[in-house]
Amino acid sequence: MNKRKFCLVAVIALIALNFFALVLSAQEASTSPATPSDSRWFDTNRFNVFITLAIVFGAILWFIGRAKKGKSLFVRRIAGLDAIEEAVGRATEMGKSVLYIPGIHDMNDIQTVASMIILGNVAKTIARYDIPLIVPIRMPFVVPVAEEAVRQGYSSAGRLDAFVKDNIRFISDEQFAYAAAVSGIMLRERPAANLLLGSFYAESLLLAETGASTGAIQVAGTANIHQLPFFIVACDYTLIGEELFAASAYLSREPKLLGSLKGSDLAKAVIVLAIILGTILETAGVKWFTKLFIVQ
């Protein structure tokens, strides 16, 4: 019980501090007449931003609620997932290993979180065959999470015995040293399939090029728009931007991911309709609709 009491005290203390700041700054404001004091509690010409955020917030929270209640929410199968399965299948036919690179960022990057979910699913499909799943990692924090994801995958396929902890390797936290070392793995261990899914930067060039030269089938995916052109030309298939998150939502059916995906979908539908309507009205010379979207 005392923990709850303590939190209440913490909140009250924080609010009190802020009102103390309010008194302080209000007194300060009166001494510096430069800033004219404004006492309105709502800026009406920012009403359109308020409504837009309310719609997006409402859609997301509503869908997360439905997902939590277990309602079935339809999400189409992402073509990228078939490409991943095909790549893994090819590796199993050839009896060669699969290399899974989860991006170079830490766990606070949502792309790394999405990549861990896909990694778990890849581990599940690989567990049935005796081929190694190599996961080179750049950030120390990611290693335990990746181990957990792969172990879950193997155990849910009933092959926990085949799980090899040492295949999940911390390489180096320096960007180009990591890229050089992973290129070395590609050239030495010659994996049949390279999966590059997560947050990538300038080193994506080195990895995709070495992978292409070893003849491995490559599937990549990142939300970093500036790296997509290289992946698209160097890899067999590329998940583009949000598809990385859609794939992780599709696989995990996790309420938060599913809810925000469906919420964004609803918002996109509203935007498409708004653009169609707006274009028709603009062509007809009606201007008031466009003015709704002006921001001061």
Binding site: L22, D43, I232, S260, K268
Partner: protein
């Protein structure tokens, strides 16, 4: 206590920032200005923390005499050297600190980025394969933009630069705008989940 207070602080900080946009009330905006000012200070501390991590990792490597541990010693020495002359000798133009910035930091960082020119050239040669119609479209646009955007392009065809400007200003823009809107929706939903405490991965492992 471990989870509740941070969630409350995150909610309050996020709420103040959003409310500050909608509430022009001077008293209120002064609080928001104060909270923003605090963030600037805490971020400076977190930068120093980041350097602390660099020191800790390298100190471990030196202690365990890992490969290239001598280089790690040089790294730590350089860190303290630059830190020392910066804090005590001042950072203005003409100081020793500035000399080291101009003659070591600048050339090394600039050259590391210049390496990318070579990597992109070898990638263009060895990995840039037009396997699908999509890749073909990407390749054609890339070449048109690259040639149209340099003077030689203009000598080849007088209005090549205007054509490149058209590609950039119309078809390319439509694609980028869609990505912008998609990313905006993604960022808003992530921000909402973090502020309401639905998303806690940032809390890190405890």
């Amino acid at each position: 206590m471990r989870k509740e207070v941070p969630l409350i602080i995150t909610f309050l900080a996020g709420f103040f920032f959003i409310a500050d946009y909608f509430i022009p009330h001077t008293g209120f905006s002064n609080i928001a200005a104060d909270v923003n000012g605090w963030a600037i200070i805490v971020l400076a501390f977190s930068y120093i923390l980041g350097v602390g991590n660099v020191l800790r990792i390298n100190a471990q490597r030196i202690a365990k005499k890992e490969k290239d541990w001598v280089l790690k010693v040089i790294l730590v020495l350089c860190l303290f050297f630059m830190l020392g002359i910066g804090i005590f000798g001042g950072i203005a133009e003409g100081s020793i600190f500035d000399w080291f910035f101009v003659n070591t930091y600048t050339p090394m960082q600039a050259t590391m980025f210049a390496l990318l020119a070579f990597f992109i050239a070898s990638a263009a040669f060895r990995a840039f394969r037009v396997r699908t119609t999509q890749a073909a479209l990407l390749a054609i646009t890339a070449v048109l933009v690259m040639i149209g955007r340099v003077p030689i392009g203009e000598t080849i065809w007088k209005s090549f630069p205007d054509f490149t400007e058209w590609i950039m200003g119309v078809p390319q823009l439509a694609g980028k705008r869609a990505i912008l809107i998609g990313a905006a929706l993604g960022a808003i939903s992530t921000g909402l989940k973090v502020i309401t405490g639905l998303e806690r991965t940032y809390m890190g492992q405890d």
